[in-house]
Symmetry: C2
Subunit: 139 residues, 2 copies
Amino acid sequence: MTSGTNSSAPSRKPTRQQAAVAELLERSDDFTSAQTVHARLREAGAGVGLATVYRTLQSMVDAGTVDVLRTDDGEAVYRACSTHHHHHLVCRSCGRTVEVEGPAVEKWADKVASEHGYTGVTHTLEIFGSCADCTAADA
Amino acid sequence: MTSGTNSSAPSRKPTRQQAAVAELLERSDDFTSAQTVHARLREAGAGVGLATVYRTLQSMVDAGTVDVLRTDDGEAVYRACSTHHHHHLVCRSCGRTVEVEGPAVEKWADKVASEHGYTGVTHTLEIFGSCADCTAADA
DNA sequence: TCTCAAACTGAAAATGATTGTCAAAACCGT
DNA sequence: ACGGTTTTGACAATCATTTTCAGTTTGAGA
């Protein structure tokens, strides 16, 4: 129900395709959709099946090595991120992303939730804006 | 490009279908998907076309009378909310939703963003957990 | 009230991301 | 090399959402 690929095993050696997806993500700074990853890999010669891209991305999310969020139109986008808890400051135009932390926010969310009797609390927080370069370009 | 239905006009009298969708949302406490709204209206006798449900929901979002967010699987869900800026505390099991405010969080987000040179900042923040009732039921 | 154009509706078809299927291919330990 | 397990990938199936387009409704004016 969680992954289907591997669940609790110490993780095998990544296959060529898995490595390709992982490396592509490492190289790009912004969130990238599965479709785009697939297209880029194809262009780069190292073709990887679309289904495999989705599967790999999912297991990476499960493994916590990749963050995922949804664009306004519901498309899932992925990004290789640091493993500790953080949030994202994303440029609305170019996608440039900065990881940010806000310990105070975490505490606030937990407090508010427990005040209302909620347990097992998690939260999502993304900040959007126009980065300096894009703001300048718009002028 | 924004709505197609109405954009800057002082808004006409709502049609029977639009009223039906609006009333249904008013009556339900939790976030509801377009598909569900459509199904409920159909059951209730007052049938409204699926396309119309989507169109109506969208213009309500544009008008700011309804909040929208995405479930984990990317489905859009809607809820009639107060018009001032707020966030949601949503029960993961039953969907029970509480509107919460966090002025400090707003300021923090703006500050962090501007520190990184981002302008025109917006953000999304949702808190998920298991409400008291559901936590009890699980025991 | 009659008329016409603009706005609205809805059934059906189109779209597009994501997932499921399943036979072939890559791997692994023996 | 051999049998068993895992992964892959082309393709079909799903499913929410959008678009199309012809028929209906609405509103302002004659």
